[in-house]
Amino acid sequence: MKKVPLIMAVLTVAVLALFPLLRPEVYYLSFLFTLFMYVVLSSSWNVIGGYAGYLSFGHAAFFGIGAFATAKMATAFSLSPLLTILSSIPAGLLAALVALIVGYPCLRIRGPYFSVVTICFAFVVDLAVKNIEELGGAEGLWMTFMDLPEETSRAIMYEVMLLLMVVTLATVYLLGRSRFGRGLTAVRTDEEVAETMAIPTAKLKIQAFVVSAFFPGVAGGLFAYYLSYIHPDAVFSINISILIVLMAMFGGGGTWLGPIVGAVILTVVNEGLSTFAQAEIARIIYGALFIIVTIFMPDGIIAYFRRWATAQRKA
């Protein structure tokens, strides 16, 4: 990263980290918590979906696996708050392990077929959890929340999710600029050509898939603790899977900044629009946003403004 953007990034993170000291209302912490969470989800999705061009429509599965793993660990061992938060790391590892197992056969499939396999995968996980009594089945799981004032506990969750976001973004950034990232881009551009250039595409794809599953798994664990009651419908919903993809693509898939921009815009607009009195109209405006942005910026917001900036410089 060049100097100026790096300083800006550090400043942004610092401001965000200090935000709870202003003692904002709990809602803002919760809202930013979900916003950070979606940045984590769409940015890590971007590793497999954006860089490698494998559009996974089942990423909610990893999110949900993380959520249920954490919830199960926390309730089964009556973990302390700190341990519960930490347990989201093994939960993320579990998600990554599942990605490794599932990715091996699935990543041989290309294009839209891969997308559909991942949809099926997410359904399978969702239905399996609903049928397993030990995981709460169709009832869901309750977690005991930390015995702290609400402001403090929400601030803790906020800081932890912020940390996860920073780690995710840094990892994705470094990956994108490494040989690994270039290899993935080669896979997206033309997988056969990449293979002839002796790029180990199969290995790269698996690694990308595992990475892109790990962070959502951790985020899922934190989300479970944040919600304190989780139900399969709340974490495995196909809407979450679709939203992750849309956020990344809306901003611009394959770029580092794209998913961040997409996640921020869509989360803010969607949350804000929900305050409208006439709910349907709000949803219609939200839908129109997708249409207008796609018509004018068919390759995503980032690509559009990059082109615009180059044009400005030329002119």
Partner: protein, 291 residues
């Protein structure tokens, strides 16, 4: 295992699968020919269902008649939608992605317009034969299933005949096998795309009516329908009309058999699990992409 249960489950499963195939076949075409993944496809199916519902409740028009009427109407609507929304997308570097995002937005808009016009309450399409059966020995052929099945057969086979026997249909197939060559011989891709899109949407309307004969529907039902038609399309092979129909049958058989032999709790899990395994071994569908 009781043979009556198995056969009865198979019959209704197969009919159900065919109905999804009618909804899916157009989706398959737009995807194969135009590289447009049309997320709002099933909403147009719902539009057909609401259209039939309104005609039935207000004027007693039979859903089959409504299907005949809605097809040309939706064709015209779809031409407009194509010109205004889909055609500009040809500029996109990745048409598939851009089309998905755009039509996702369109689906949200249409869904909520449906709520504004018809309210969010669930609806049922209940012609006089809604829960009657044709009884053959120990078996019951439910009329709504039969009619949905027949509509699907007619819809899919007319689409097939159109593609195989007409010049325009040939141009559609040509366009999707090799766009550049098709253009060189005078095929106007925009016109062909518009026709493909419009045909897809109008068959979706008929498919929606057939589905409405089987299930209740509400404005958000399209999300569920979309998942099923996605599966039918993928198993059949993208762009493969006959494949889609056969895939409908296969998914019907899987559902029917698993309902006959398994605890219901596991049926959906097994269905999706089997599909996943199936896709892993036959990544381009049972019948290949082109046909």
């Amino acid at each position: 295992m009781d043979p009556v249960l198995v056969i009865q489950s198979l019959i209704s499963g197969v009919m159900m699968g065919m109905v999804y195939a009618l909804l899916g076949v157009g989706f398959s075409l737009t995807w194969g020919v135009m590289h447009v993944i049309h997320i709002s496809h099933a909403v147009f199916g719902l539009l057909g269902a609401y259209f039939a519902y309104t005609l039935l409740t207000l004027y007693g028009v039979d859903p089959v008649v409504s299907a005949m009427v809605s097809t040309p109407l939706l064709f015209i609507v779809a031409c407009a939608v194509y010109q205004v929304l889909i055609r500009p997308l040809t500029k996109a570097r990745e048409m598939v992605v851009a089309s998905m995002i755009l039509t996702f937005g369109l689906a949200i808009i249409l869904e909520n317009l449906l709520v504004l016009v018809w309210k969010a309450d669930p609806r049922l399409l209940t012609p006089s034969y809604a829960s009657e059966s044709w009884i053959i020995g120990p078996f019951y052929l439910q009329y709504p299933h039969l009619i949905g099945f027949a509509l699907s057969l007619v819809g899919i086979s007319s689409l097939y005949v159109f593609l195989k026997k007409t010049t325009t249909g040939m141009a559609v197939r040509a366009a999707w096998q090799n766009q550049e060559a098709a253009r060189l011989y005078g095929v106007n891709l925009f016109r062909i795309s518009m026709i493909t899109f419009a045909l897809a949407v109008s068959t979706a309307g008929a498919g929606g009516i057939s589905l409405a004969l089987l299930y209740s529907f509400e404005p958000h039902s399209h999300n569920l329908w979309l998942i099923y038609l996605f599966l039918v399309v993928i198993v059949g092979g993208v762009g493969n009309v006959i494949g889609t129909a056969l895939a409908g049958l296969i998914i019907g058989v899987i559902t029917g058999l698993s309902m006959a032999f398994l605890p219901y709790q596991w049926v959906n899990l097994i269905t999706f699990g089997l599909l996943m395994v199936f896709l892993i071994f036959r990544p381009h569908g049972l019948f290949g992409e082109v046909g």
